[in-house]
Symmetry: C2
Subunit: 125 residues, 2 copies
Amino acid sequence: MEKKNPIPAEHNHQKTADFARSHLPNEDDLFELAELFKVFSDSTRIRVMCALSKTEMCVYDIAELLGASQSAVSHQLRLLRASHLVRTRRDGKNMFYALDDDHVDAIISMGLEHIRHTKGEKDNG
Amino acid sequence: MEKKNPIPAEHNHQKTADFARSHLPNEDDLFELAELFKVFSDSTRIRVMCALSKTEMCVYDIAELLGASQSAVSHQLRLLRASHLVRTRRDGKNMFYALDDDHVDAIISMGLEHIRHTKGEKDNG
DNA sequence: TGAACACATGAATGATTGTTCATATGTTGA
DNA sequence: TCAACATATGAACAATCATTCATGTGTTCA
């Protein structure tokens, strides 16, 4: 009486969806995760984070490093602050920015490993 | 003859910018990093990756899991494929998707750690 | 072959984003 | 207090993005 099924015998749509759903982060975490990775999704901001992982810098330094306007840099730094990825320290008229979290380096390193891994695939063999 | 400097004595704009620049990833990698993290910057795609880290799923399963249209899911999966984050396996009429890279879990875990860490800051005390 | 199913994709559209311009805030030295 | 400097921010605009709708491609079963 069983009818032939193109889906593997052990596969069941409902069970699969339910099982996966039960392992998802909650809505709040998902939203915040997306917000966090949004910060990493712009090469200008990645540049800033990579730079700050080596040394603290004032806004002027960062603008010079990037060849970007002070305003553009400041807007981007605002996002980094909002995500608790950088912290600031005032010194006279300057604001010095530094990384505020070890995860930044880890996330960027993982990303680099991934893209280098995929590049290897193309040439491999 | 030295004039008082509001910048810390050891701080030099040019040197700081040059030092940071010398440690940045190259342009291609920066671009690809941004592209990669763009994929992580949408909670729908994060949901898909989290789900696929537990079990392979066909498009129908994923659409049901997300409560999204088949077309929307398919468009998103295209991005995941383009970034080499998922691989596909055809079984009859179905395409089964699975994670193609351990870095996905690692990156999402780092992200979760970060947001939980920052939440701790608020309540900590 | 043709109908039904599963998935992919192009075009269009409303929403979001990064930058610029103009201006505001905060600090220093006089 | 004021001028000069360093940074922050609001509004506006072009570019990019996620979804929808319509349709195309590939597979199975009869």
